[in-house]
Symmetry: C2
Subunit: 350 residues, 2 copies
């Protein structure tokens, strides 16, 4: 983190400094899914790629879309363009994206035998396109802003792998959790090892910050969360931190666990908009930076109302460094990109 | 509430007594959507009715399905079979249920003029089938268990009316909320008056407990929740309580607001499973009874695991009356009805 010592301000350092709660010239901002369908230039590249997975698997195209929002807006971080399901795909589950339906696995995990057969994928062979993309993007960024690498959390990957895709009821994974807890624990073990190897490979290739997306943490009752989601998040955060890599944990809908999450060893916690940043800050006792948490629907409001909502979020966090402005969930495809400019300018100008 | 004085225990009184946190012989239990598609006898009646709204609009058929789970299981309360969207339907929005897609309004509210044109529907004319169903059901119940009447919260009804049906992004209602807050306030005013008249008509017809479903409270940031969802819940709860009617408020996903919700004047708070009952009890300082909160997916587990999960929920609430056992969300259609028997017997036998 020597780069932090060079300059107390400016686009390159804001994000890394806020992660460490060092003074910043203005609140840094990036946006979940900032490289995405709301941008016409993204839609053009996506069409050229033919499929979503082709886009992820091509380091050149992944770099192209990663750079698009950085070129267009004054954002303070870039995030690798990829998907959280690359790991199960590399494990042989056969990932496909069905238009309008989301991800689908051809071979979901539905037996203990299938769990026992899973192996940690080598991030330098079957997942090599990911560190390759990281290197390509770092090169294209040329130090303008830091690059975030990421992975799904073990619990969230397990949900997708057992359900076979997005789910409303999560009947299969919960049946496994309650009827065969030892099998789920084994699945989480191989996934935790896989995620660590994968994130370390991204860091080796140049990712400067690592983020864990625990998208389905919030579907669990507290006792199940503490048993099946939290421990692998804590293990990964602690292990990455030992390697001096800044970590952001986003456990969606897990507001009941903010106190525990603030003690897993991460540098920042992502938050959705169902809790106020001031409230979250009190609950986490200023132990950790907070990332979030504007409702993405704010981008549908008038520019004037949007500015007020951005300022409300900044005001709610309050005085002192440690806030990374973001939405509380990914930006939606039908948003007018000009609204993103209004958001970013308001964050920086406030 | 004189009936409470007669007997300290037994199927008829448990639920009403737990609502008032009076001693009970065992924890009362009912299940959200207990009259529903998981029951073969429900599916048969539903088919005879032709459509979901025909089923709601026929007092005889609504009574038939309301009674089915009461006849089958040792449940401690019946709940009127109806839908929260009867009010907007009676306001002229043209409600229809599309198979597999949920409710749709032919004429959603998309202008301030449309809001200004809305009138409080007379519950004894356009909604007469609802109090008629309540009377028919009370008669069929013959005092076996109390009958719950219900309505959607003003905020939740506003969401459906403006979006036109279920929504993922809630772009229209949030645009209205942020760009024309005074128009939304007017919409909530007419809905609050409508819900009060509607619930009073249900009570006059024989409903002994009234429940407000704020299904979409949780999509709001705290400041918006306090401005657009909480006030009408509080106004309704206080006004119904003045008439000595027990009130249950279920504001889904609004765990950030438990302290405020416990002070609106309701008798009980419904909870989903994202928070522990013990934790919720501490946060609400034992001011109010708690209803919930088993994950509905527990019904997919083995009978043995299900029993453990039921006991975990009971244990989490702890000692003392004031717990009404329920799921944290409606029962799902593909559940084996025998699992409901396991659940109910475990609650009563614990």
């Amino acid at each position: 983190m020597n780069e932090l010592l060079h300059r107390a301000s400016g686009r390159h350092n804001r994000f890394l400094r806020a992660l460490k709660r060092l003074p910043v010239d203005t609140t840094p901002v990036w946006i979940m899914r900032q490289a995405g369908r709301y941008l016409p230039e993204y839609r053009a590249t996506r069409e050229r790629a033919g499929s979503f997975m082709n886009l992820c698997r091509s380091p050149e195209l992944a770099c192209e879309v990663t750079m698009q929002p950085i070129d267009r807006f004054d954002l303070d971080a870039a995030i690798l363009f990829s998907d959280i399901l690359t790991i199960p795909d590399a494990m042989g589950l056969g990932l496909d994206f069905v238009e309008g339906e989301g991800p689908r696995f051809a071979r979901p995990i539905r037996s203990v035998d299938a769990i026992n057969d899973l192996r940690v994928p080598d991030p330098l062979t079957s997942l090599r396109y990911v560190p390759d993309a990281v290197r390509t993007i770092r090169n294209a960024l040329g130090g303008r802003v830091p690059l975030i690498g990421f992975a799904g959390s073990p619990w969230t990957l397990a949900c997708y792998m057992v359900e076979g895709g997005p789910s409303e009821r999560f009947a299969h994974i919960k049946q496994l959790m309650w009827d065969r807890p030892e099998a789920l624990t084994r699945l989480l073990r191989v996934l935790t090892d896989s995620v660590r190897e994968y994130l370390l490979a991204q860091a080796d290739a140049g990712a400067q910050v690592l983020m864990l997306f625990d998208s389905w943490g919030g579907i669990l009752a507290p006792e199940d969360y503490r048993r099946f989601s939290l421990p692998s998040l804590a293990e990964l955060a602690a292990s990455l931190r030992r390697d001096d890599l800044p970590v952001i944990v986003f456990s969606r809908g897990a507001n009941t666990h903010l106190d525990a999450l603030s003690q897993v060893g991460a540098d920042a916690l992502g938050l959705d908009w169902s809790i106020g940043l001031g409230d979250a800050r009190r609950q986490t006792q200023d132990r950790i930076a907070l990332q979030g948490n504007l409702d993405p629907a704010a981008l549908y409001a008038s520019p004037e109302a949007l500015r007020n909502l951005v300022r409300r979020t900044l005001f709610d966090y309050g005085i002192g460094s440690g806030h990374i402005f973001n939405l509380g969930h990914g930006i939606t495809p039908d948003v007018n990109p000009e609204q993103v400019r209004v958001l970013v300018e308001t964050v920086h100008g406030a």
